[in-house]
Subunit: 340 residues, 4 copies
Amino acid sequence: MTVRVAVIGAGIMGADHARIVSEELAGADLQVVCDVSEASARRVAEENSAQDVSTDPVAAIRRKDVDAVLIASPDATHASLTLEAIKLGKPVLCEKPLALTSEDCLAVIEAECAIGRQFVQVGFMRRFDPSYVDMKDTLCAGKIGGAIMMHNFHRNVEAPAGFSGLMAITNSAPHEFDAVRYVLDAEIVSISAFEPKRCTSGACNPVVLVMETSEGQLITVEVNNNAAYGYDVRAELVGKEGAVSLGGLAAVRVDRSLSSSVAYAADWRPRFHEAYRLQNKAWIASITTGVPAAGAANAWDGYCATAIAEAGARSLESGEKTRVDLAERSALYDPAGTAA
Amino acid sequence: MTVRVAVIGAGIMGADHARIVSEELAGADLQVVCDVSEASARRVAEENSAQDVSTDPVAAIRRKDVDAVLIASPDATHASLTLEAIKLGKPVLCEKPLALTSEDCLAVIEAECAIGRQFVQVGFMRRFDPSYVDMKDTLCAGKIGGAIMMHNFHRNVEAPAGFSGLMAITNSAPHEFDAVRYVLDAEIVSISAFEPKRCTSGACNPVVLVMETSEGQLITVEVNNNAAYGYDVRAELVGKEGAVSLGGLAAVRVDRSLSSSVAYAADWRPRFHEAYRLQNKAWIASITTGVPAAGAANAWDGYCATAIAEAGARSLESGEKTRVDLAERSALYDPAGTAA
Amino acid sequence: MTVRVAVIGAGIMGADHARIVSEELAGADLQVVCDVSEASARRVAEENSAQDVSTDPVAAIRRKDVDAVLIASPDATHASLTLEAIKLGKPVLCEKPLALTSEDCLAVIEAECAIGRQFVQVGFMRRFDPSYVDMKDTLCAGKIGGAIMMHNFHRNVEAPAGFSGLMAITNSAPHEFDAVRYVLDAEIVSISAFEPKRCTSGACNPVVLVMETSEGQLITVEVNNNAAYGYDVRAELVGKEGAVSLGGLAAVRVDRSLSSSVAYAADWRPRFHEAYRLQNKAWIASITTGVPAAGAANAWDGYCATAIAEAGARSLESGEKTRVDLAERSALYDPAGTAA
Amino acid sequence: MTVRVAVIGAGIMGADHARIVSEELAGADLQVVCDVSEASARRVAEENSAQDVSTDPVAAIRRKDVDAVLIASPDATHASLTLEAIKLGKPVLCEKPLALTSEDCLAVIEAECAIGRQFVQVGFMRRFDPSYVDMKDTLCAGKIGGAIMMHNFHRNVEAPAGFSGLMAITNSAPHEFDAVRYVLDAEIVSISAFEPKRCTSGACNPVVLVMETSEGQLITVEVNNNAAYGYDVRAELVGKEGAVSLGGLAAVRVDRSLSSSVAYAADWRPRFHEAYRLQNKAWIASITTGVPAAGAANAWDGYCATAIAEAGARSLESGEKTRVDLAERSALYDPAGTAA
């Protein structure tokens, strides 16, 4: 069985997903590329030998020759397009965030619960990154004892003009929130946000977040969208008997000019290239088998990431430690639960 | 267009190739798995949803519903099966070695030259390993000046009983010969083989090879098939202004028991997992386009690796520096040449 | 001129200092080793060929044949012994802390100010560790742009029974407070203390501290006295254009049993061996020249470290961000100031 | 007891030794600095507070107020000055080489044997480098099984004009010969020298040496005096069960401009700074105790290094594997032997 995929959105992420569906996956066809800009849709479709193009996302989702929907359109459209696909019973891989607000995330959850089945995988691709998987495996194998702390660093070369510490929390930090929840299998219950006063605007707007989990663990996150030196994601998990860190992944080391160096990428794509491929492969397999991909983020995970970001934004505003209040989790998302 | 592949051989390598064709490639179907052991063929076919099984490689190659042949059967069968495929005009991806002797390699070359077209890609997968590619790119970009030396280390955990230094040269070192030729775009013209007297049999049989290239470069290779500590492949390329080395690729680092450690794999598959996938992807693409995969090893490269190994074996026997005498290269294999 | 040194205290630190004075320094004689336990004093004196022993610290300090005093006795005695030495006009190298309370530190400062000269160097040896010096030099050379954040990790193998998060702040964290102040040339103005609820007693009592500096920088510190895996001190300084981290300092790397590893020391001495030697060498030189050692911690630095720890302890108690209120700094300690 | 030292030679090495004797050692006085250039002698003497200067090395050695002699004058003078000191019964620390020819080395050995006592320590400082010591300890502790191979890399930034591959063998490689002999406690019995034809003159003159030991081990050495990128010394010792390599020793790592880098020094001094200090400290201690420093190179070791270099030079000339023929070792140099 071949899964016919509609990719909604032909921007950077959409183009990358179209390429993965077309070139890197067995059992998937790139049926249609959709973008409000017909030129963009056409360009990405041609580059990846898609069957067709569209400028109407709802129409693209509704096509009879589309089995599954990959949403990589602007963030504000994620929730409504996801709801459209659920209404049609079509599986969705939705780029993060699932929705801009936790309320809108809950609407997706309600739609799934009403049907009693999961349709949505959220694009927190780090859950498929071999190094995060290895970190979690190391913890689960008991090699570092019980987890007590986790330190995370998220650095981009340069943020768009006008990017703020608040946006670091709402746009970038959710990847960290989800990585923490994935590795620890614990919920984040409080968040305290800090900004260096020296740089809270323009080209210097890092934030440091301190979080507590339901298991009494302490988490730190630095998000630095203007780190300048390179795209760099680090994480260290500290247990009672040891620690495990993301490794170095440089293909080569160069010695010249009194320096031994390895390169940083300019953005996230080389770093998470394999994670995206494996994520999308697992999504296609889940459609074929009808069982949600093991370890993947579901709509509940998407909701939590957005809800934690909202609490983080409030903490940045108030300067106080802020509780993360979550809705009650439906049994549909029980870890041991399976899709009906 | 979907390429229907016959995988010949259902051992470790064949099973891995069957999995890659079935699960990791767009545009390829695993048509038939062939092994002299029907049980093996059936097991690998089932695990990878192949259409059919076979115990007769020639018959499998001749099937009308087979477009291309991936040869992973015992080394002694490589040349004759490759010739069979060429006779039928079917493209081949042949695991190394192309043949056990340089004479048999030349027979394959003659078959291709008689038709005037390349059909064979040899499975020197390191040419698709991102770190070797990056090493070559670093050289070509002029970052280390002109290449003058290259140091290579090839270590396995444990060799089969009875493995000898001679076999290290004929079975393992060809990967190194090809990697050197690929990175340097130079021919190997002499080879001197050394064995530590302390261990020339049984579970300790390393060899050290010193080679000269047509460009006046000096190459060292250690092949240590009983290195015990892990599967470890290293290379350093030294230029007039700098050096470039294969990087560390550990997914995670673990701190415990007064030690900070990264893991070695027990065999080559995790290390070259991505190289195999990209190699096979390039092969499938080359079939679709009709143009040999850029950077891939062709029959000439397969011949050279075997011929160098033969010279290395003579050097080990004589204790002398030994010249590598190669046949004249047909224009079919000119670097700038294209398949007719 | 040879400086005749009295080492007060013959515990772990005192024994190490006696050895350094006796074996590693030019221009210094180990005149007397003093400890309330005569046996300890005698043992350390013999091991290091000291001229004499004593069980009375005040008498040892007052000896005519003692030019300078190195205080490594129990923390509670530091301030009063330091005051005794100042009264006699003898230079002091006082192990951290200068005193248990900021009030007692101020008494030392008052004694120096009354005379109008610095007598005290505080044993914050990291200021002489080549890696911290290199980090500061990298910042000052403009290689990473202006400093905006610093992340510090302080891990011991195992704390004494009964060690608490509070003690992590008052006993261990001062090394971090001083390292931050040294590297950044900035004052710490607020501190927020966090403990993972999962482990706030017994063999698991880490704390995480978030601090702000007078220059608007954000600092994080993890102190984990039961890290189990090894003695490990890390620091990363983040600037607007780059970052600088303490390097790896392993003498050798060992490959065995599917693992590539470097060793951690069991305690701080191997890690800071060179720092102690250089610190003590600079102290002896400062006595000879009469000019305080460049970069060394003075009484004011000792006071600040204790005052920040007190604020940290209050924050841990209250769960709130706490301001660090410092006394006014006397001109005696102006960075550009020199001893009269 | 204070050892009064004459430093002969006020060039780079002599100045460094004068500084170490004056500033870094307990129990030693820098009595006299001697150089044929009085200006040089005077400059180094003043910088290091020496008691006196001299332009006559023999006179300096003969001074009554000189207890021990540190020879850092031009290589051609080493043997005769060493013999002068032996004649007077004064201990010598002689920079490598002990002599320019193995014959001259033997003359020193004869002088010692005639008296029946060792007077000479040769400045192969790597024997005191913590990483080589750690490598040897790792081997002796059985952590890597029996040693079977060792790979060594010796790279300088730039050689003086006119430096040749031959000089690489006679001037630089002896450090490697001695390091191998020290780590393995084995003799080198044959040597094969190779040069990349592409660069055998001027600013490109590396050599690769393959050696066999008395224990049947295989050794490779690359000497590259124009490596351009930095001063870099590496070694890996391969055992039957594992391997041990010299570690990375960078004080800091800098992240900037899409690169993560650590620095190389421009010459050997920062790399072996600690080795020189510990070597000289052990020498002073050996004078006080009358027992040769444990692990230090003696005259026999100095002879072997020169004799191996001579064999290497012959191999480079002939292109053949060349046997290292050593004189018979006097019992004075038996590993278990002690100075009479």
